[in-house]
Structures are given as structure tokens and as C-alpha cells.
């Protein structure tokens, strides 16, 4: 599904140039569950942003399902993103002014799904995430675990082929964290490819493969299964 070759990304300030990704190579197959680990500043988040087409690389190639997407313009990236990729963040990033239902509905609006179908699909996914009873609440009225379940519901409502999760349990206690990891595992078992950035060895154990980064390079890969 994903083929990355010699990917490079630099951050420049007036005096210093920092290398975030240094000729990185990585392949991820459809249906995989990959955890990306490494110390702060190793380039994990940069990689995830590039994979999610939120950022563009300075050099190298990024094939998504066989298409070169490294230098897509913003419109094309947005288009690819909304049909293929779901995001889960550490800080949930729900919109405060929208209810649970409306937050989850949002991606469907952007892909032009009809109102009737939106209702069915949102309710379906909310039921699956066991958060249906909270559908008319606002994010501030929910616990952290519930918020993250809403965020996952939002990420999967469009049935994306790929889910990118950036420390999805970082703001949660261990029991809520485990619940979220179970959810991701379920999704993976149903065929969704998952790439997760994490600091937690415990969470990483849910994945098939751990990619360890240091200074923008892959230093080790552990196959879990």
C-alpha cells in the first residue's frame, strides 16, 4: 500500500537546518498494523504527517497504492485524504462547537454523502464504538476515553483504507487506553491498515511490526508475529 524511498525532510530556521527524515525507506502492506517508535525528535510525527499528506517531503518518493503523491498540490492531497485516510490524535481534536454526532458526520459531509445515508452510517459507527447514547453531547461533556472513541468513530466513518494514529492513548488512563487499542485491533482485523506513532511499548505490542526511528532513519524493525 505504501512505498517510501529515500524520503527527506528538513526544517530550517535562520541559522540551523535540522534533518527530520534522512533518506528514509519504508514499505507498508495493505492490512498491516505498524507501530512507529523512537525518542522525541526522531522524526516520528514528521513521518506520520507526510504519510497522511498533511506535509510534503523535500526529497524522495512516496507511492500511495502505486501513485506518486509526494508532490501533489493541496487540493489533490485533500481529495486523496478524505477518501482514503482517517486520523486519530493524542489530543482528540474534536470540534467543540459540534455534537458527537456532528463531529463524526463531518468527513461524510466533505465526501458529499447524502444526509439520509450520513445518519445511517454515523449511527452505525457510534453504536459500534458504544457511544451512541452520547450522540447529542458536546466533546467537553465527555470523558477522555469517550472523546477518543468519538475521534476513532470519526476516523473510520468514511471506511478509510488507512488509519494514522498519533499517540492515541497518550492522554488516557490505562483502562481507557486499552479499550482504544482493542478498538484499533478490531478495525485492523476487519482489514484497515493502521500506522500508529507511540511512546508506549505496551501499546506497540498490539501491532504486527514496530519500526524504530532515530535521527530520521530506521534503525530497527521488530516483527511481532
Amino acid at each position: 500500500m505504501i512505498q517510501i524511498t529515500n524520503l527527506e525532510k528538513f526544517y530550517r530556521t535562520e541559522e540551523v537546518e535540522t534533518v527530520a527524515l534522512n533518506k528514509l525507506n519504508l514499505e507498508i502492506k495493505t492490512g498491516e498494523f505498524v507501530a512507529i517508535m523512537g525518542p522525541s525528535g526522531c522524526g516520528k510525527s514528521t513521518l506520520l504527517n507526510i504519510l497522511g499528506l498533511l506535509d510534503d517531503p523535500d526529497a524522495g518518493s512516496y507511492l500511495f497504492n502505486g501513485t506518486e503523491v509526494a508532490h501533489f498540490n493541496e487540493r489533490k492531497r485533500a481529495d486523496l485524504r478524505k477518501h482514503n485516510i482517517g486520523f486519530v490524535f493524542q489530543s482528540f481534536n474534536l470540534i467543540d462547537e459540534l455534537t458527537v454526532f456532528e463531529n463524526v458526520e463531518l468527513p461524510l459531509i466533505y465526501t458529499g454523502v447524502s444526509a439520509v445515508e450520513r445518519k445511517t452510517r454515523v449511527e452505525e459507527v457510534l453504536t459500534k464504538m458504544q457511544i451512541m447514547h452520547r450522540r447529542n453531547h458536546y466533546p467537553q461533556q465527555l470523558s477522555g476515553g469517550q472523546q477518543q472513541r468519538v475521534a476513532i468513530a470519526r476516523a473510520v466513518v468514511n471506511k478509510p483504507k488507512l488509519i494514522l494514529a498519533d499517540e492515541p492513548t497518550g492522554n488516557l488512563d490505562s483502562s481507557n487506553g486499552n479499550e482504544v487499542m482493542e478498538l484499533l485491533t478490531d478495525l485492523n482485523e476487519q482489514g484497515t491498515t493502521i500506522i500508529m506513532v507511540t511512546h508506549s511499548e505496551h501499546d506497540a505490542r498490539y501491532s504486527h511490526r514496530i519500526v524504530r526511528l532515530l535521527d530520521g532513519q530506521t534503525v530497527m524493525e521488530n516483527i511481532m508475529m
Binding site: 498533511l54 485533500a78 485524504r81 478524505k82 489530543s91 456532528e102
Partner: protein, 805 residues
């Protein structure tokens, strides 16, 4: 999608209540002011357009230069109208008016009516004045017929269908009522409640081509006719006036022109009269186009200030919206969609603000009417332009003020904003600084303008006018008493509390006026001519009105020769070029064919006094001792005015059954400046509004600035900064902008107000402190606004602000 946007917008507005309040209130205030001024401006521009044939109607004006005297008349010669109609094929019709005032009787009561016009029968063909009763074609064809308005009919008869009744006018002339018309529209440059047939006025058949008395309106077949006619005017004058000139002035028209004198005729479109004509002999008081420009600019200023608030507050709030932008982008929103979202939000806010503004404007319309002296009302006609105008302006204002925030917000990169990197966005906005500066630029300009207008008005009211207008009571209808007027004058002079009294209709406030031609020698030489006001006064005039004789003496009843003596004002002496004027003789021309010259001896010179508004220079005045019992002016000196008034009224009643109509001279004087006073008040009101709106915005910005710098403030306080230091730190940035605004606005304000003052012959110099005061006012207001937020932020517990990070 749109529903989602509005939902978000609505909830966002509800969530940030203070932001919403400031934003919507500011906009609503701005739009209210804008709407009211637009009402005013539309009204001013709509004058005379109610006439269906308005675009084809022109008025003939006359420019006259006689020696050094130059006058522009809104009137021209009696026979001109008929000549135009019969000799010039491009002319479809003509109508003449002659303004007059008249008394009409209702039972035993007599009323003095000012809105009376003699009018040619063609008036109803030229002007759109529909008759409710009567036949427009024949209504004014015969002598002694009158058409009156519905209101006038009700006043005199208690009903409207009064065709066939008669109205008893001055000298027991009975006028047959041949028509009743609707009241004239308020947007007419002249007002008439009574149109009396022109043929009732004997002089209207006059063949005098050297005397101008008639407001003459021409209806052309088509607009191009006006150019054609104007080109032939000089020929026409040569032909008709030239002949009479030969006999009166004993000179040919060519010689007359060679001497530097001239007669000229020109045309002004009917629809230009109200705003562009201020000549001698106007049918009514016209407006000034400058004020229309003035107010239009203020309206746009206020709206701009309100829009800038919106832009400033929206971009300042961007930090709070950035996460939403990030999430939406991550979920697949294209930039276009975000721009559209933010634009629809701003249109929504403008829409809400406009609804509030419409309601507010409707409620405030009566107050505004009082302020502006207009009678504006919302009618079906208003709605025809108002509704589309409001819809368009909602879109325009919404898009204009939403555009920058929309493009600014939608440009955020999701990677940055989701990581919270964007808090630096606030201080770095140069644009926002520019906008705040511009708002205060406008405010300083308006403050200066207000100060200058009020200074000038104060100056006008306190200026030594050459007479004393205080404590003078005027009985306007003394003529009712006939010969008894003199008796009343003598009896009142004996009354305690009365200092003096004078019997004449010629007063330095708006009243009777009369002009004549005088010559230095008994020859009709234009170069030696004077074209002064000639006033009939009595021997008590000068002393009653507190004027000063600076050479020679006043009139005296004991000197029988005084009736052929005159008193000149200083200007008349100057115009005639007399060195020692006393006892010199000047000559008054009888006018007409073969004029005679009557000699007058100059008895005295009176110090110049203002008798028109201070907008005009003092012109020559010659006073003659002759009887005129038009009105009675009484100088009083009493602590108990009501008692004195009662006594005077009793005296009046013992002599006449007519109503006792009185006024005070200072109040009459103030009427001359009603326009300026209104302009002053409107200026003040809208200046306060503009500053309020600008301060609302500043208040909001200061709040955001304080919020953005919470951490900095916390750290500074932990390190030992005092509250005052922090307040100064937070206020400094804003005050700097206000100071820049003052520096930029002052030259412009100087220029604009200087232009305005040129309209006054007697005016103030704008002194430096006016600018200093307006600058200080702006800084003061801005400081208070900003420090309210700064102090709050500075007083907060630093632990709290640091923990929140």
C-alpha cells in the same frame, strides 16, 4: 454543507458571547448610522424628482453686473416667459411664480400666510401637482382665483371639497376657490399652500425688461432644448432689454456692456436647484450640496470603522479557531471550502447586525428627524430602494469584512495548528495595526471637525453684529393695526419695562427687503451707481436696535427736511467712494422709461451691522425716514417677562381683534443658522458613534492581546514587575497607533475644515489647541478603553496564568 457552516457559526457566536456582542453591536451601530445618513442623503437628492417632467424643466436665472455690483438672481423679467413660449419652438410651456404673503380671513379671525404664490395657469401642466377637486386646465385662468392645498382647505373650511367657496384676502379682495390640490411634497424646493392666479397681480402684465421679479420655469419638448435656448439668450436680451436701456440709462446695450456691466440669462435644471442654487430671490431656503458630500463621507467612514472592527476581531480570534481549521483540513476540507465557510459566517453576522440596525434605525428615525430638521418616513417608495440596497450591502459588507479573515484563517497549515504553533499570530499582524490606525485616523478627523463646527457656531452667536438682538420683542403683524400702530408704539414706550420701540418691517433678521438704484450724480452712469438695500425706518430705529451712528446724526422728527435725508451704512459709503459723506447728496433713480432722479442728503453713517447670515458679507444699506408699520420691535428690560407680555397683549387687544403674533429677535437670528446648528448636532452625534465603534473594537483587541500575553505577564510578575509597568506595557502598543493616527489626520482635518469655513464671510481661525484637544481626546478615550483590559490582566494572579499554559 451550508447548514453545517451556519451551525458552527451560530454555536461559535453563542460560545464567545463578549466577542459576538462587540462584533455585532459595533456593526449594528455602524449600519444604523449608515442607514440614517443614507435616508438623509437620498432625501436631499430626491428634491423635485416627484415631477414627472422633472428632467425637462429648467429655471431661468439672471446674472447682473452693474458697475461694481454683482448679483445672481433666481428671478427674471416679467415678459420673458411669454416671449420664450411664443418665439422659441423648443419651449413647450412656461410658468412664472411670484412669492408673496397674504392675510386670509376665517370668520372673524385673520391668519398671516407665508406660503402664497402667484402662479401662471400653466403651473399644473409644468409641475406635477394633481388636483383633488377642480379642473387643472382652467383653475388659475381667471383673475382672483386660488387653488389651495388640502391642509389649507381644512384650516379655513374644516373640509376639503371647497371648490366654489371664496377666501377673503388682504384689502377685502375675494378669491374664488377653483381647485384643491394635495399638499406639496416635502421634497419640493418651493412650498405653496395657496396658488393665486398670476392675472390677479396687475404687475404681471408689465413689459419691463430691466426689472426682475418672477421665478420663471421653462418646460422643454426635450432636454436638448435647454442648450439651444441658452445659446440664444444674449441675442434675446439685446433685442428686448437693449431698447429699454436706451431710454432709461440713455445708453446702448453695447455701450453698457463695454462699460463692464452686463445682464446674462442662464438655465438651471429643476433637479439641481435644491442643492446647487443659493441666489437672490429663491422661492425657498435651499440645501447645500457640501453637506450631502459631508454626510456621505461620514456615513462611509462609520461603516468602514465598523467593518475594520470586524476584520480585526476575527483575525485576533484566529488563534482560537485554528484548531478547527486544522481538523477540517485533516478531514479533507479544501481551502476553498474553508474560505466559503468563513465568508458565510461573516455574512451571517452582518445579516444579524443589519436586522438589528434596521429596527434601530426605524426606532431612531423620529429622533433623527428632530436632529436633522427633516420629516423622513419609511414608505412603499423607500422600501423599493431600501430592500435591494440592504441585501446588497449585507453581501458587500459581509464579503469585504469577511474576506481577509477567511483567507487568513484558511491558510493555516494543519500540521502547525494542531501542534498549537500559531499563537504568535496576534502581534505579528501589521495589517491589524494599520486598520486600528485608520480607525483612529477617522475618529480624530471627526473630533476635529466637530470642534471646529461648534467653535464657528459659537463665534457666529457671540460676534458683535453691529446691533443688539437680545431683549427685543418683535410683533410681526403690527400692520393689522393700520394707523393705530403708531398709537400702540407710543403707549408701549410709556410702559414700564419697555425701553424703546420702532415701527418698521425692515429688520436685521429675516424680514422685508427692498432694493433701489442710487447714483452719485443725477446721471444714470452705471460706474457711479449703487445697488443698495433701501429700508424705511423711523427715528427710534437706531436706538431701539442698539446700532451706532459713527458720523453725522440720527433722523429726527423735529427736522422737517429729514424725510429727504438718508443714513448710510459704512459699506454703502465705501462703495460710493465718499470721503466726507455727511451732507453730501446722492440720487435715487425712479426707474422706468425716462427716469427722474430724486436727491437725498446724507445725514449720518451707521456702523456696519450684519443683516443676512454671517455666510455673506455686509452689503450696502441706505435708511430713509418714512412710515412703514409692517412690524413693531420693542426693546424691553424687565425681570418679569410674562407680566410684560400680558400687558403688551392687553394693549394689543384693546386696539385690534387680530391675533397677537410675536417673536424674539435672538430666536429669529438663530433661525438663520438652523442648518449649521443641525449640521453641528449631526456631526457630534455621528462622531460619538464612530468613536464608540472604534473603541468597541479596541476593547476587543485589547482583550485578545492581554489573553495572548497571559504567560508573558505571569512571568514578568513573578520576576517582580509592578501592575503599572504591565499596564504600560500592554497599552503602549495601542497608544502608539493612536498617536500615528493623530499625526496623519491633523493635516487632512485642517484642510477639510478650512474648506468648510470658506463658506462664511465671517469665520474663526482654527487655532492649534483645537488639534491638540482632539488628539488628547482620542488618546484619552483609547487609553481608558485599553487600560480596562490591561489592568485586569495585570492584576490577575500570576500562578493562575502560568498554570494555564
Amino acid at each position: 454543507m451550508l447548514k453545517n457552516y451556519f451551525k458552527i457559526a451560530f454555536r461559535g457566536l453563542l460560545k464567545n458571547k463578549s466577542f459576538t456582542l462587540i462584533n455585532i453591536l459595533g456593526l449594528a451601530l455602524g449600519v444604523t448610522a449608515f442607514l440614517l445618513i443614507v435616508f438623509y442623503v437620498v432625501d436631499e437628492l430626491s428634491y423635485d424628482r416627484y415631477n414627472i417632467k422633472a428632467s425637462r424643466i429648467y429655471r431661468v436665472n439672471e446674472d447682473l453686473k452693474l458697475g461694481d455690483n454683482k448679483v445672481q438672481y433666481a428671478v427674471c423679467m416679467a415678459p420673458l416667459a411669454q416671449t420664450l413660449k411664443s418665439d422659441y419652438p423648443e419651449v413647450e410651456n412656461v410658468v412664472r411664480f411670484k412669492r408673496t404673503s397674504s392675510h386670509f380671513k376665517k370668520g372673524t379671525e385673520t391668519f398671516l400666510e407665508y406660503d402664497v404664490l402667484f402662479a401662471d395657469a400653466s403651473v399644473f401642466d409644468v409641475f406635477t401637482l394633481p388636483l383633488i377637486y377642480g379642473d387643472a386646465h382652467h383653475a388659475l385662468a381667471k383673475p382672483n382665483t386660488v387653488v389651495l392645498t388640502k391642509t389649507a382647505a381644512k384650516k379655513y373650511f374644516g373640509r376639503t371639497n371647497v371648490v366654489g367657496e371664496s377666501l377673503l384676502a388682504d384689502n377685502n379682495v375675494s378669491l374664488l376657490i377653483t381647485g384643491v390640490m394635495n399638499d406639496m411634497p416635502a421634497t419640493s424646493h418651493f412650498k405653496a399652500n395657496f396658488l393665486v392666479s398670476m392675472s390677479s397681480y396687475p404687475n404681471s402684465y408689465s413689459d419691463e425688461w430691466l426689472r426682475s421679479d418672477y421665478n420663471t420655469y421653462v418646460l422643454f419638448h426635450d432636454k436638448s432644448g435647454s442648450k439651444k435656448l441658452e445659446a440664444q439668450f444674449s441675442q434675446l436680451l439685446k433685442k428686448y432689454s437693449g431698447l429699454q436701456m436706451q431710454s432709461e440709462l440713455k445708453m446702448s446695450y453695447d455701450a453698457f456692456e463695454k462699460g463692464g456691466s452686463y445682464f446674462k440669462l442662464n438655465l438651471i435644471p429643476l433637479t439641481d436647484i435644491h442643492l446647487h442654487s443659493n441666489m437672490t430671490g429663491e422661492l425657498g431656503v435651499n440645501g447645500t450640496v457640501q453637506y450631502v458630500y459631508f454626510f456621505s463621507i461620514i456615513a462611509i467612514f462609520i461603516l468602514v470603522v465598523a467593518c475594520l472592527n470586524f476584520i480585526n476581531l476575527s483575525t485576533a480570534r484566529s488563534a482560537n479557531r485554528s484548531r478547527e481549521v486544522g481538523v477540517r483540513k485533516v478531514l479533507g476540507s479544501a481551502r476553498k471550502q474553508l474560505v466559503f465557510q468563513f465568508l458565510s459566517e461573516s455574512v451571517l453576522i452582518v445579516f444579524i447586525a443589519t436586522l438589528i440596525a434596521l429596527a434601530a434605525a426605524a426606532l431612531l428615525l423620529p429622533v433623527f428627524n428632530q436632529l436633522s430638521g427633516k420629516s423622513l418616513a419609511v414608505t412603499v417608495g423607500t422600501l423599493q430602494w431600501l430592500v435591494p440596497a440592504v441585501l446588497i450591502s449585507i453581501m458587500v459588507v459581509g464579503l469585504l469584512s469577511g474576506a481577509y479573515p477567511a483567507f487568513f484563517l484558511s491558510s493555516f497549515r494543519p500540521v502547525d495548528v494542531l501542534k498549537g504553533k500559531l499563537s504568535g499570530g496576534f502581534q505579528s499582524s501589521k495589517l491589524r495595526n494599520a486598520l486600528v490606525t485608520f480607525q483612529f485616523f477617522i475618529s480624530v478627523f471627526l473630533i476635529t471637525g466637530t470642534l471646529v463646527v461648534f467653535k464657528q457656531l459659537q463665534y457666529v452667536q457671540n460676534r458683535d453684529l453691529g446691533y443688539n438682538r437680545n431683549q427685543v420683542l418683535i410683533i410681526h403683524n403690527a400692520f393689522e393695526l393700520g394707523n393705530q400702530a403708531k398709537v400702540l408704539k407710543q403707549e408701549l414706550r410709556a410702559m414700564p419695562g419697555v425701553v424703546n420701540a420702532t415701527l418698521t418691517a425692515f429688520l436685521p433678521v429675516a424680514s422685508a427687503r427692498n432694493t433701489a438704484i442710487f447714483y452719485k450724480e443725477a446721471v444714470a452712469d452705471p460706474k457711479q451707481s449703487l445697488f443698495p438695500q433701501v429700508w424705511s425706518v423711523d427715528e427710534d430705529y437706531v436706538s431701539t436696535l442698539g446700532m451706532k451712528i459713527i458720523a453725522g446724526r440720527n433722523f429726527s422728527n423735529r427736522m422737517s427736511m429729514d424725510s429727504s435725508g438718508v443714513i448710510l451704512n459704512q459699506t454703502a459709503v465705501k462703495f460710493l467712494g465718499l470721503i466726507n459723506p455727511i451732507n453730501k447728496t446722492i440720487y435715487r433713480s425712479s426707474g422706468g422709461v425716462n427716469p427722474t432722479f430724486k436727491p437725498y442728503r446724507i445725514l449720518g453713517v451707521v456702523k456696519d451691522f450684519n443683516f443676512n447670515s454671517l455666510r455673506e458679507n455686509i452689503s450696502p444699506v441706505i435708511m430713509q425716514l418714512s412710515e412703514n408699520s409692517g412690524s413693531l420691535s420693542i426693546r424691553i428690560n424687565t425681570a418679569n417677562l410674562p407680566a410684560l407680555l400680558t400687558n403688551i397683549q392687553q394693549k394689543w387687544k384693546s386696539l385690534s381683534s387680530a391675533q397677537f403674533e410675536y417673536a424674539f429677535m435672538d430666536a429669529e437670528f438663530d433661525k438663520l443658522y438652523r442648518t449649521e446648528q443641525q449640521v453641528g448636532k449631526i456631526f457630534l452625534t455621528f462622531t460619538i458613534l464612530a468613536i464608540t465603534i472604534a473603541c468597541l473594537g479596541l476593547f476587543g483587541l485589547a482583550a485578545y492581546a492581554a489573553e495572548q500575553r497571559t504567560k508573558e505577564i505571569g512571568i514578568r510578575k513573578v520576576l517582580g514587575a509592578e501592575v503599572s509597568v504591565i499596564v504600560a506595557l500592554l497599552s503602549k502598543d495601542f497608544i502608539k497607533l493612536v498617536v500615528i493616527a493623530i499625526v496623519l489626520a491633523t493635516p487632512l482635518a485642517w484642510w477639510a475644515m478650512h474648506q468648510w469655513l470658506q463658506e462664511f464671510a465671517y469665520r474663526i481661525n482654527i487655532s492649534w489647541w483645537v488639534y491638540a484637544l482632539s488628539g488628547c481626546t482620542a488618546i484619552f478615550i483609547a487609553s481608558i478603553t485599553v487600560s480596562f483590559q490591561s489592568v485586569k490582566a495585570a492584576m490577575a494572579n500570576p500562578i493562575k496564568s502560568l498554570r494555564s499554559e
